[in-house]
């Protein structure tokens, strides 16, 4: 772990009542990096992201953002520190318009409508589909569009670190390709991203580095491209030996 890491996890434990969902996880993310955490369902990936975002308390361990201990910072203040999470299952506000969802994403900025409009315009360039549908209620969007909205909404707070939780969840293969194209674009723009995914091959292809989580522990780490051809990955998913 170097001094310059943007995000540092130090021996993090998270439990859900009696369930030890995350056990002794340490990792580091450098600025500009795309790091993916892959693993089967129930491995504890989402729990880990929720803990970073402050939605789940830590049983023990520390999480540092830019060297600052996030321990005492409640979830809604972490956004202001530059940390945004696009949650699993998208969680857009279905009865509010696409535009209003995005405006809510900028809630932590407490700034005038001019700046918000400027950022909206910027994001609409990145997500032209959302621009077309900006007045539509978010609940009427397709799954892929909702996922784009969830990512765009997280970007509205101008995060230095973007956490993406299962962006491919429940999407058709073609749409999954679109989502990963967006992730690669964001990477090229220099954003630091932690990506939790079940779709191992796409995630590994898009990532600089990867961690494999199994029943709450990190079992494999390595460069994304190296792990792509690693037989252990397939074993972890399909039980093939």
């Amino acid at each position: 772990m170097s001094q310059h890491d943007l995000l540092t996890l130090d021996a993090v434990h998270v439990s859900y009542g009696p369930v030890h969902a995350v056990r002794d996880v340490s990792m580091a993310v450098a600025p500009g990096e795309v790091v993916t955490i892959i693993g089967a369902n129930g491995a504890g990936k989402s729990t880990l992201l929720n803990a970073i975002a402050g939605l789940r308390p830590l049983a023990s361990g520390r999480i540092l953002l830019g060297g600052r201990d996030l321990g005492p910072v409640p979830a809604h203040r972490r956004v202001g520190l530059g940390l945004a999470l696009s949650p699993e299952g998208r969680r857009v506000f279905p009865d509010q318009s696409v535009r209003d969802n995005l405006v809510l994403g900028a809630y932590s900025k407490r700034e005038g409508s001019r700046q918000v409009e400027a950022r909206l315009a910027h994001l609409f360039e990145l997500f032209p589909r959302l621009k077309e549908r900006r007045q539509q209620a978010a609940g009427t969007l397709s799954g892929g569009e909702q996922q784009m909205l969830a990512i765009a909404r997280a970007l509205m707070s101008e995060p230095s670190l973007l956490l993406l939780d299962e962006p491919s969840l429940g999407l058709a293969p073609m749409v999954v390709q679109d989502i990963f194209r967006i992730i690669r674009t964001l990477r090229d723009l220099g954003l630091t991203i932690v990506l939790v995914e079940q779709m191992a091959s796409e995630a590994l292809a898009a990532a600089d580095r990867a961690y494999v989580l199994e029943t709450g522990r990190i079992t494999i780490t390595g460069r994304g491209r190296d792990l792509l051809s690693d037989p252990r990955i397939r074993a972890a998913y399909l039980g093939v030996h």
Binding site: G54, A75, H76, A84, L85, R91, L104
Partner: protein
């Protein structure tokens, strides 16, 4: 025909006060899944707070509540005192009786809010006594003739205020960032937190607003019914019925439910006054038997 029209307008006026309370119920229920079961005491105490403000401001001159003193800015002061005072008490209610119990199984929040209400009522009784105080209407007891029916000014004022409040509520919820954030909190508190929205503060705010609406309702209806510390119970029960019949999760449904209930009540009154309450509450039971989440409420779906 004239009688029917007159009854309809009176019904809508009383329904307006139910609607105000129902709106408050909807607000706290969607954000915190809890309700203030002591809303009746909030209505009564709200009326007295408004009255006391008038009394205090006019006492050096007149030494009592007289029609002459209640003019100009004084009614506004009464309304403001009732709403703001109850809003403050609402914040205390949230902190002391709701937050410690919200989200826990069982009905502890029902009982804790009732307990808070009993204490509030006792304090009110100590301050103002148990009697009924006749309250002069701020704009006089004038009667307007509309299509042959006589309508009391105060009734129109109640109805108007309810409609204005419902409209303001609608505008705030649709067009302001705070309103959008409130809707986000109501829909999904965890995700709202991810946006940086201080969820707790909004939940407390919902109780402040709901209590202010109760106080508003109290001070507006007092000139029609007279003010007493027991006046609120009936109004709040009807307000609760309105919210439930309209569907707690739907603010517009709640307002509609209030007006509907007021109208029904008033029409039955024309026919047989003593059956009014019985028919109204039987109707509530029947509606819930057929539509367990109210007429316009969202069905609760549990994920398995």
């Amino acid at each position: 025909m004239t009688a029917l029209l007159q009854a309809s307008i009176s019904g809508l006026a009383v329904g307006g006060s139910y609607a105000l309370i129902a709106l408050g119920f909807s607000l706290t229920f969607t954000t915190t899944r809890t309700l203030n079961f002591a809303q009746g005491d909030f209505v009564s105490v709200g009326a007295f707070l408004g009255l006391s403000a008038v009394l205090l401001s006019s006492s050096p001159l007149a030494g009592g509540i007289s029609g002459a003193a209640i003019a100009g800015w004084v009614p506004l002061l009464a309304i403001f005192a009732a709403a703001a005072g109850m809003g403050l008490i609402g914040a205390a209610l949230y902190r002391l009786a709701i937050r410690p119990f919200a989200g826990k199984p069982g009905m502890s929040w029902v009982m804790s809010s009732i307990g808070f209400g009993i204490i509030l009522q006792s304090a009110g009784l100590a301050a103002w006594g148990p009697g009924t105080v006749m309250v002069p209407a701020p704009f006089g007891d004038g009667i307007i003739r509309m299509f042959g029916a006589g309508v009391r000014l105060q009734e129109l004022l109640v109805l108007l205020t309810a409609l204005v409040a419902a409209t303001v509520f609608e505008i705030v919820m649709r067009w302001t960032v705070a309103g959008k954030a409130m809707r986000a909190v109501a829909h999904d508190p965890a995700t709202a937190r991810l946006m940086g929205i201080p969820v707790e503060a909004y939940m407390a705010g919902a109780f402040v607003a709901s209590s202010a609406l109760a106080g508003l309702s109290g001070i507006l209806i007092a000139p029609i019914t007279g003010a007493s510390l027991y006046m609120g119970l009936g109004i709040a029960l009807k307000g609760f019925s309105s919210a439930i019949v309209g569907g707690l999760t739907n603010p517009r449904g709640c307002v509609l439910g209030g007006l509907l209930l007021g109208l029904t009540e008033s029409w039955i009154n024309l026919w047989q006054a003593q059956w009014r309450e019985i028919v109204v509450f039987l109707g509530v039971i029947i509606v819930l038997g057929l539509k367990p989440s109210g007429l316009w409420g969202a069905k609760v779906v549990e994920k398995v």
